[in-house]
Assembly symmetry: C2
Homo-oligomer: 112 residues x 2
Amino acid sequence: MPNYYDDLDLVLRALADPTRRAVVERLAKSPAVVSELAAPFSMSLPALMQHLRVLESAGLVTSHKHGRVRTVSLRPGALDVLHLWLGEQRTPAEHQADRLGIHLTRTIPEEP
Amino acid sequence: MPNYYDDLDLVLRALADPTRRAVVERLAKSPAVVSELAAPFSMSLPALMQHLRVLESAGLVTSHKHGRVRTVSLRPGALDVLHLWLGEQRTPAEHQADRLGIHLTRTIPEEP
DNA sequence: ATAATAGTTAGGCATGCGCTTAACTATTAT
DNA sequence: ATAATAGTTAAGCGCATGCCTAACTATTAT
C-alpha cells in the first residue's frame, strides 16, 4: 500500500532521467505507440522499453496492447503528487509574496 | 552557460533522493546550520555534506559560512523551473478540464 | 505457409551514486 | 595553550542504473 512519499519518490526518480522526461513530453501531446516513442532516440528498443517500464510503475503512464502494438498514454493527474509537493516547498518569503501579489526577483549571488 | 533543460535536469536529479527532499522540506521552514540539518538522519556527516553539495550545485540551496558554522537556506524561486515544466506537461484532457473548471476523477486501471 | 513487423526477455557490462571510515583544517571555548 | 566543536577532504566499497546484444514470442502481411 504505497503512500504519498513513496509515490512522490517513484515519480521524481522516473523524471530524473532526460530520456524519460522526453517521453513524458511527447505523450503530453498525445498517446503514442512504442516504436513511435523510440524513434527519436539513438538507443536500442529494449533500452527504451526499460524507461517505459519505469514510467509505468511510477504511475506516470499507462499502456494497452492491441494485437502486437502497444499504445502508451500519459496518465492524467499523474503529476499531481509532484505539483502538490511543490506547493508545500515554498519559502516563507514566497508565501508572503503570494499574499502581497509580488513577483520576486531573484539574483544568484556568486561565491566571493 | 546552463540552459533550461540542464537546470531542470539538475533540479530533478537532486530531488530524486529522499534525503535531499527531506533537507529541502526542512529548509522550506527556515534556514539551518549543517549539523542541524544532519541531526535527523542516521548517516555520517560527510554523507550529508555530499547531499548538500548536490542541492547547492542544482541551485536549490545557498550557504554561507560565518566562522566555523555554515548556514544553508532554500533559494527562493529555485523550484520555479520545475513548476514551469510541470505546467507544460498537462494532457490535452487536463487543459480542457481547466477550461471547464472540472476536477478530473482518476481511476487506476489494473492490468488484467 | 513464409516472411516481416512489434515488442519482449535475458544476460552482461560500465558507470554513477550513496554511503562509510579515517584523517585533516579552522574556529571557538576553557 | 589545550581541547572541543563544526565542517571538510580523500579514498574506497557495493549496489543500482542505463545501456547493449542476442535470442525469442506473437501478430499481421504476402
